[in-house]
């Protein structure tokens, strides 16, 4: 399951997508919108995505996870539109036979998402707004 949604992200369907009898570890990662950035108060965040390509790039990450950690799976959802402070902008659930692979796959998946999935974030402050650049994105081979 690799989806974009304008609604609050529900974790259960994502977890169900990767739960398997042979998976002894299931790990949920939630990325939460923060109320501050470099000392400035953030009023809200707005995400936009390239529909179609974003899901396809997430699915590629899913395929890489399967190859790197045999028996593991990942599913993810990213929220788009306005996301109030304190809510999940992204949820990544990994499953694996053992916890080491589940943790490694989770870390890999969020880093890869930040580098390659076409999604953008605008931070809105009291006195302006900024499109934020992921450091991982700036290291991507294309830049």
């Amino acid at each position: 399951m690799f989806v974009l949604t304008p609604e609050p992200i529900e974790i259960d369907p994502i977890r169900r997508a990767v739960q398997r009898p042979e998976a002894g570890a299931v790990l949920v990662f939630e990325g939460i919108t923060r109320n501050h950035h470099e000392g400035r108060e953030v009023m809200r965040l707005e995400y936009e995505a390239y529909p179609g390509m974003a899901e396809a790039e997430m699915a590629k990450i899913g395929e890489q996870v399967r190859q790197k950690w045999p028996g593991s799976r990942v599913a993810m959802a990213h929220r788009i539109g306005v996301v109030p402070i304190g809510e999940a902008s992204v949820v990544i659930v990994t499953s694996a036979p053992h916890r080491d692979e589940a943790y490694a796959a989770s870390r890999f998946a969020i880093d890869a998402l930040k580098m390659a999935v076409p999604i953008w974030k605008k931070e809105v402050y009291q006195d302006g707004s900024v499109w934020k650049n992921n450091a991982e994105s700036m290291d991507a081979p294309g830049f």
Binding site: K114, A116, I119, W120
Partner: protein, 78 residues
Amino acid sequence: MQVTVHYFAVLRERAGCSEAVVDIAPSMTVGGLYEHVFPTGPQGVLPVMFAVNHEYVQSAHPLNDGDEVAFIPPLGGG
């Protein structure tokens, strides 16, 4: 020859639209199209990646009639 160009985030705001159909010369590359659309570069040099038909490509990638092009500014997902 025509391609559809998608603009996102900072580039969408600078272009003033999210999507446009652009007439191009037959031998144009995706990087050439970017320079064509933003002649001086938007506010100087903005690092950008390119996608054609939902796949990342290099700037030298040649365009075909009907391609769906996207200029991908630095990402902010997560």
